[in-house]
Symmetry: C2
Subunit: 361 residues, 2 copies
């Protein structure tokens, strides 16, 4: 039996139920900007050493909650665990992004792809169980995965990219191969998220970090359709509890109507989107998550508070059947001063309570 949840504001906001304040968590909240994270990372020796060890993963997941009254925890892991389990050989060189030993660019490599045995990802599910137990009902735990398209970008490029030349070349030249990669990815991601839910994840998020680099028309066919394929297979309930699903497309602001119809309960927004306009457009069917520019956190605490209020004002006063989860529009930078996050979280809680008072705001 799990401990009863003491703070369910995040789950309630996801389902557009009333909350006393706007819940807040931050993408990459367990990360390099925290000295305690860097200390654990040093003990673990490498990023994958950290991510694959249940005890370390639990430790770093809980670190930001010790510092800040955040309303949700998110599993500490990487979006590329699934292609790693497919045998592509993920590594992280110091000071660089992720690299795959094998790239998927030709017919043979595509044909060899299959949904990996979920036992290869056991370390992730073990971490989920361990974190859930350590949280002891404090706040809900979010599980996650990269979207099929975002995983495909890394699998074809072999790492990060600034022009997506390889993956787009394959998509335009051999759409059949790209569709096959995306089918395998979608089925793998669905199984992966379901196993996280079985292990204790109370909500799940799909990161379509690179959906926004696609052309109109191609986004729908090569990214969104496969996110839908994932969501259609991911369970919506576990042990009698609703499991909210969040879909975040960086740079997806032009396709919000279509994204909101993909089957998620929550649509994640980056800072280019006007939150008030998005609420008017979508607020009756999904909750919204976002959307402070993480670079705001390099300004003074007063400036941080001002920009936090601007985001909350942009969403507007909470109303019936609307939901907002405060977040950044992208992962927090490793260079962020930790005291900026103190100001952010405090201002979200304080000001959003004020907006809920009869004559507040």
């Amino acid at each position: 039996m799990s401990a009863p949840l003491q703070n369910d504001s995040f789950l309630r906001a996801c389902l557009r139920q009333p909350t006393e304040h706007t819940p807040v968590w931050l993408m990459r909240q367990a990360g390099r900007y925290l000295p305690e994270y860097r200390a654990t990372r040093a003990k673990a020796g490498s990023f994958m050493g950290l991510a694959t060890n249940r005890d370390y993963a639990t430790e770093v997941t809980l670190q930001p909650l010790e510092r800040y009254p955040l309303d949700a925890a998110i599993l500490f892991s990487d979006i590329l665990t699934v292609p790693d389990a497919m045998g592509l050989g993920l590594s992280f060189a110091i000071g660089e992004g992720p690299k795959f030993e094998k790239v998927v660019r030709d017919e043979a490599a595509v044909a060899a792809l299959e949904v990996p045995d979920m036992n290869k990802l056991r370390y992730v599910f073990d971490a989920v169980s361990s974190i859930r137990q350590a949280l002891n009902g404090r706040v809900p735990l979010i599980g996650f995965s990269g979207s099929p398209w975002t995983l495909a970008c890394y699998m074809v490029e072999g790492g990060g990219s600034d022009d997506y030349r390889q993956v787009k070349s394959l998509m335009y030249a051999r759409p059949d191969l790209m569709h096959r990669i995306l089918q395998v990815n979608a089925d793998a991601v669905a199984a992966y998220l379901n196993a996280q839910i079985d292990a204790g994840a109370q909500a799940v998020m799909l990161f379509d970090s690179w959906g926004g680099v696609l052309a109109d028309g191609m986004f729908q066919r090569f990214s969104l359709d496969y996110s839908k394929r994932v969501l259609s297979q991911v369970k919506t309930e576990h042990e009698g509890q609703r499991i909210p699903r969040i879909l975040f497309t960086k740079g997806g602001g032009l396709w919000l109507d279509e994204i909101a119809d993909a089957g998620a309960d929550v649509v994640g927004l980056d800072w280019t989107v006007n939150l008030g306009r998005a609420r008017a457009q979508l607020g009756h069917k999904v909750a919204l998550q976002g959307n402070l520019d993480p670079n705001v956190l390099f300004a003074s605490p007063d400036a941080v508070r001002e920009q936090v209020r601007a985001v909350l004002d942009s969403f507007g006063a909470p109303g019936p059947n609307s939901g907002h989860i405060f977040n950044l529009g992208h992962g927090i930078s490793q260079h962020t001063p930790p005291e900026s996050v103190t100001a952010l979280v405090d201002e979200v809680h304080t000001y959003s309570r004020l907006l809920r008072q009869p004559h507040g705001g």
Copy 2:
């Protein structure tokens, strides 16, 4: 006296006048993907050696016109000539992007900025005159500049960036300093574009390459307002000829209505924008330019032609008082096979003529 213009389809489309085909040119059409460009570059020794020499600049500007029946030429230069003339010391290391010797991050550096003496940019205006003469009326010549915000990104970061941390930190922490940089940039860019027009540029384009990285609200205040300030000072006529003005904001698709009201005749679009929707929204007040993903050019000639038709179909059949200039949604990649451009230009001309036939399309 200049030679009369033999092909004015580009200028006509900018002003939403009828044309027999959709005019086409490509951002960075004179560039590294062409072997003849690389040969001239080698003779010149360095990128700045190329850009500052009138004869070389003329030679490379005309190279793509020798290969392809493009409908416009664009001055060969760099968007960072203006901050270089401000004394920041621009250089290009091999295989890297632009670098400034001095960065503009503090009160003293901002206070020292001023609109540079346009004589320091004489090499650009000389190149414009020389190119105009060499074109001999074949197609019109486009002049250009980076937008005030885009120039500021490079001036504060000291070069390219993937997170815009320095420039956004300054903007959030010291908006007063950022506004002062942008004022100086806007006045300098306006003087620069006017001098290009005086030297022979028949249209001008403002590249807001990094406007799309700003948050909603900040884009309007820190990028668009200063593009407006430029456009309000740039002449609309020269020697009795209208000088069309193009404003291109990469990633600006969410702000098209506001961009279309900035004072430009043409709005440039990247590939994330649905061209048909943009036409319905803006087509009565501005012409549209764009928007093929340059990565399409890595596929087969047949696939290139198919995607070109998709862009033309998305804009739809030409009608009265509408204008479309075919272009990429970003500069052409140095890795592009030159024969892909042959297919692109031919398909734009052939298919757009077909769309203009009474029962075409």
